[in-house]
Structure formats: C-alpha cells, structure tokens
Symmetry: C2
Subunit: 413 residues, 2 copies
C-alpha cells in the first residue's frame, strides 16, 4: 500500500480472503482452488484483488494498520472522513493516557481489517472495512499530561486577519481521523472508538467530510471543492523522497515524533451565494487556474508548471498577483505541504441555501516551517479571501505508527 | 430500469456514452468501434454498461428521469440521499407553483443525466450523475394552493403514543428526495435545486442519510440499520404486480395522482447506548430475527417466511408476541409498504457518544390503508419501542412522472 508500512501478518490476509467469499466479492462463485489462487495473489502483494466482471465488491479492501507510519496520511484519500476532536477529562494522567491509547489502538487495528471491535455490540457492521483508516493525533494538552516534549509548532496557529474562528470548531486534545470509502463503516467505527474513549475524554467537535465516491471517477483524480475548483494539484507524490521529506521529515521534532508528522485542520466556510455572482473569468483569475481542467492559466493540463512570468498582450501577468495559486506557491520548495482535505455541506440556516465549505487538512513535518508561511502569504493577499472564511482551526501531532505488539503513542507514553 | 418508465431519448444515451469516455470509465481505451458497441448495448437496455477490468468507474451511470412514474421510488436505493422539505412563501399561487415545478423539473432532468443545470454555476460538478434521482412530493398546503383535491391521507399521521415529534423535523409543503451513489453529486444537485426554488419557498428541514456505498456489498443486499439489524426484508419485489399494486395503486386517490404514490418519512431516533445494554438474544427476541443473517427466528435464511405458530419446548412462541417482526406483519396482504429508508448519524451532544437513527421512508398508494395500521400495531406493542423514538414525521403525495415535454405536477397544476 505504501512504502515504509510493514507487512501485514498472514492471518489477517487469510481473513481478507474469507471475507471476500462472505461478501460475495472477488472470489464469489469460485472454488477452493480459486480461493487459494486469490490468497496467493494477495500474499504476493498485488495492488488490488482480482475482480470478476460482476458484481464488483470493494468493501473488503483493507489498508494495513501497523507500520512505521500511521495509515491515513499517505493512503489514497477515501471517499468519506470524520474528524473527531476530544477533550481529556480531568485526572487522566500518563498511565490513563497509556491505557486509553492501548484500547484505541487495539480496536482501530481490528476495525480497519474488517474485524469486530473487542467489545463490539454490532459485529455485523464491522465486516465491510472499505479501506478504513484510523489516524490519531495528539494536542499540546495531551503531550503535557504525558510529561512529553511538544514540538514548537504544537500550539494554535498564529492569528490571521481572515480568521473568524469559532471555539466550537477550534482546538482539542486528541484527534481521531476516521476515513473509509463507506459511510456506514465510519459510523460504526466512530461509535466503537468513542465508546472506548468515553471514560477518558469527551467529544469537542465532529466534522464529517466527503469527496467523490470510490468508483465515481478514475482513481487519482484530484478532488474538486464546492466552488468547482480542482483542489490539491500541487501535492507531493506519495512514495517519493520528496513526499517523505515533506511529511515525515527529518524535522526539528522531539524523538517520540520520529516517523510521525504534523496535522492542520482548517474549517473554511465558502460563501457559495457570493461566489455565484462572480463570472467564470473572474473565478479563474481569483484561483489562477482554469475551472474546466484545473490547469494553470498559462498551461493546458492540470499538472503543468505555472509560468508566473508570462504576461498578456497588455503586459499584465497571465496568472494575477492576487491569485490563490500565486500566493500559495513559494520559491522555497521546502515550504510545501501534503493536502488531504474533504468537502462539507451542512444544513443551511435562515435564508441561506447552503452551509458549505472545505475541511482543509494538511500534513507536514513542521507546521511552522511549512504551513504557516503559505497561510501568511494567503492572509496578506489572496483574492479568494473574499469568498472564504476560516471558522475553525486545529493543530495536532501525528505520532508514528506502531508494531503489532505496540500501540499508537508508545514512543511518548 | 423499471417497467412503466418510458424510453430515454437517444440524445441522452449518446451523451451517456461520451461521458463514459470523458470519465475514463467503461469505454476507456477502446476505439470508435467499441464505443459504438457500448452505445448499442446501452440502447438495447442492458442492465449495466459493460465494464473493463480496471479502473471501474460507475459515476456515469444514470437513471431515466422522464416516465410514467417518478424515479427514486422503484430505483434500487442509492448509497446517499438527502430529504429536503420546503415551506411555500406567502403569495405563491397556482401559476407560481406551475413556474416553480417547470424550473425544478427542467433542472432535475438535466442533473440526473449528468448535464449541468440551466444556470449551473459549477458545471464541472454536474458531470458525475452516479444514478442521481430527484423525486418531488407535494404536501397538503401545496395541493390546497393549487386548488386541487388532496387524497384523504395527505395530512399529519394520527398521533402515536411513542411519538415525541419535534416541529423542526415535521411537516413541509414540498419535498425533494435527492439520492445518488455520490455525496458530491447530491451536494451539487441540492444546491442547484434550492437556488431554483429560493423565490418560491424556504427550507424547513434537511435530512441527509446513508446506506452502504455502492460496491461495498453484493448488489441487492438488504440494508442494516445502526442497531445492526437487517432492515427492509419484507419489501415487495420491484417489477412485480405485487409491487405495482402496493405502490402505484389503484387506490382511492384523486385523478391527478394516478401513477403517483404516497410518501411517509419518520425520523426515528435510536438509543444506541441503551441498546448496548441488551444482550444478543434479547436483541433477537425484540426484533424476531437473527442478527447474523436477518432470518426470522424460525428460519435460516433472510427471506424465509416467519412461522408465527412455532413454539419452543416450553410452549412459548419462537417469535415473541411483542417482537417487531410479529407486530409489523399483518394477515392482510394489502397492509404492506415499500420501504426505502436511510441511516443518519449526526454529531452527538452532551455526554452522548452518538446521535443516530433511521430515516424511515416508505412508499404506498394509500398511507391510511397501508402504513397507518402497521404503525398502530407497533405503537400498541413493540418491544423495540424501548430503544426507538419517532422525533419527526412527514407525509407527501408523490405525483406521477411526466413526459419530456411536461413537468412534475402537470396533472395537478
């Protein structure tokens, strides 16, 4: 699935094959010989299980849980995600945190492989993993309770002039990022994990988001946000040294965070009604990209490198100075991030016909060195600021992955 | 797609094939000859377009909009649905209703076929229909404004003792049921349609729901609710005379509703925390079915006919008198409904770890004759009532479908 993730033990693989049979999936209708062949194919590390023509069943696809890094960072984004922030209860000390993370790790590992949680009250809902990943993040207060050293960037982001942060969407001590291609899988996993954590922490906020469904588009298609923009083109490529350096470091982080990364979530309200009043060329100028393909205004394909020097016949830059593309881009290649955001679309209130926006999510080894300079440039001058407002903000440290006999956070706790 | 639905005009079919090519779907990588073959296959009414092995792209699948009946009733349930109730603005008269329904019909027809709405501000978001259906329902107030005759059942349901109805989830003048296999498709379609209707009506409630994602399970698998129960087994089979009689009638409905049906939505809060305290056999007794397969306690397979006469060695009924299955089932075969519900899972508040339930949705030609007796039996005695509470309720008349030159509601307006 990703380099750096350790091999899944064989029993899990055998369960996977059995589950394929149970769900009537890839192996449906084939005999024992075929099942063995599938098992071998899975063991050989084939990217995806072979499929028969019909029915296509992908609910049994799994992402390994254990490994050097947590899953859900370099994992190809699932269709749905729920971001849950918890606040620790008074009196939960280092030993309590250790118990909490052991329990959470154990159940997350089970659920991501399509197995019931240890005390699963609805085990029938656990049989469709649908690429479930559970990614844990630690806030500054949790690290302090653990008597650990926090990285310098593990604190609220500097205040930006565009911010209109609401406390209800801001901060938190413990993050659960629960993502899967199936919303039912997320509902069940979220409930099981929140039950685990109930005596240690209470829910501060829950932010569900979505992208296109798995199978709606060609895999690897860059997502569009609800403005219709192609969003996230400049991401580093998973599996490259570039990705690894930007996301996993090295960075000036405490030792317990080696193999981990930094997480930023910004809840960005998008004023679709106001956006509606802008014509197509106005929208493209604001973004610096075409709406049809996401190509920079100086290019024809999404991934074309923008030519900021190009000028129009009248001598104006083709990609305006105030465009989002230009403001987000730095000359310094280390000032980059890995984006993994989701759209949200909540119930409108009053006369509005939408309550929509983007759960901007980025991973970077050093939030201060990578994310903050980008946001500062956007804060100073970005035409898009006329239509978007950050209303929530949170920063978490994503600890490394763990071995099958360890638990997430065991380098800190 | 369904019997009774008229043939889709050829231009739409050609668009479908082109879209398959654009999305890199079924036709990806095949030449003109293959595209023609696909086109012919689609014209021949093949159930689903042929798929190549990888990548599997289903976002271009469409459900015909025009026909004798509205889509979204006998359509195989999509993974996601949003139910929107609107309240008419003062002064919107019959002519205004006609204008509103013409505009809504036109855009719904476009969007369901993967085309942009007439004044689509984000046409790039319209290219993935993902089996989008838009189904319109009329409340009593709308029929009155149209100076039409309402069916006798088009009114609030009788009060049930279990009800704890909240006005925020109850009633409404116009219903939009927007369903698709892709949440992004629903977000875009909902916004386009709410913009259409803005000057005629305001939003009363929005209730999003979900099932398993398309592709997660074998097609045709009965959904499970968040209690883990197999839910909806007893539905009539789409395409049979039985289905047609139960859903489309004949019934004692006004002439404008011929080809239409009745719609009930009950927002049923499910107390998962309390349900947790019940052991597995207690749960199975409450439901009258096994949790593992959904089979009645007297059977082994989901669709087995329950044997209410069967008794245990001690002489007690195997399927208890108070079980949901027994209470929901009538000796009178005409007292049946077509269920098409969705789960909901909203953000918990306070100390709760979930705010979850079922959007119970049923279609039936005569709500009073078919739905009400079932609910009355459940109201009197159903052990499940200990864990579920209806907190919202709405009844709408679903007018028939329309021809390509008509509009939904043209038999009334």
């Amino acid at each position: 699935m990703s380099d750096g993730r350790q091999e899944q033990p064989d029993p899990a693989r055998r369960r996977l094959s059995r589950r394929h049979l149970l769900l009537g999936g890839a192996a449906a209708g084939i005999g024992a010989a075929g099942a063995v062949a599938l098992d071998l194919a899975v063991k050989a590390g084939a990217a995806a299980p072979a499929r028969t023509a019909e029915p296509m069943v992908s609910g049994s696809d799994t992402v390994p849980f254990f490994g050097a890094h947590q899953a859900g960072v370099d994992t190809a984004p699932q269709a749905h995600a729920s971001f849950v922030a918890l606040v620790l209860r008074d009196g939960v000390d280092r030993a309590g945190l250790r118990r909490m993370m052991r329990i959470l790790t154990d159940d997350a590992a089970r659920l991501t492989q399509g197995d019931a949680a240890l005390a699963d009250s609805e085990p029938e809902l656990a049989v469709v993993p649908a690429r479930l990943t559970v990614t844990f993040g630690f806030g500054a207060a949790l690290v302090a309770r653990a008597a650990g050293t926090a990285p310098g960037w593990l604190k609220p982001l500097p205040a930006f002039t565009v911010d209109r942060l609401e406390p209800a969407w801001t901060g938190g001590d413990l993050l659960l990022q629960i993502a899967a291609d199936d919303p039912m899988t997320i509902a069940h996993a979220t409930r099981m994990l929140l039950k685990d954590v109930r005596s240690f922490a209470s829910v501060h906020w829950v932010q569900p988001g979505f992208r296109r469904s798995a199978g709606s588009e060609k895999p690897g298609t860059t997502m569009r946000n609800l403005f219709g923009q192609v969003d996230g083109t400049a991401n580093p490529v998973v599996g490259t040294d570039d990705f690894s350096a930007l996301v996993w470091g090295p960075a000036d982080n405490p030792a317990w965070l080696t193999g981990g990364t930094g997480f930023v979530l910004r809840r960005i309200s998008m004023d679709l009604d106001k956006w509606d009043k802008l014509d197509r060329s106005g929208r493209e100028s604001a973004v610096g990209r075409t709406l049809a393909t996401g190509a920079p205004l100086t290019g024809t394909r999404e991934k074309d490198v923008p030519d900021f020097a190009a000028t129009t016949a009248l001598g104006f830059p083709v990609i305006p100075e105030y465009s989002h593309l230009r403001r987000a881009r730095s000359e310094d290649r280390s000032q980059r991030i890995h984006r993994r955001g989701y759209n949200y679309d909540d119930t409108p209130t009053g006369t509005a016909v939408s309550n929509s926006g983007l759960l901007f999510v980025s991973f970077q080894a050093d939030v201060d060195a990578q994310f903050v300079p980008i946001q500062q440039r956007l804060d100073t001058l970005d035409l898009l600021n006329q239509w978007i407002t950050p209303i929530g903000s949170a920063v978490f440290a994503i600890p490394p992955g763990c071995a099958a006999d360890g638990f997430i956070g065991d380098t800190l706790l």
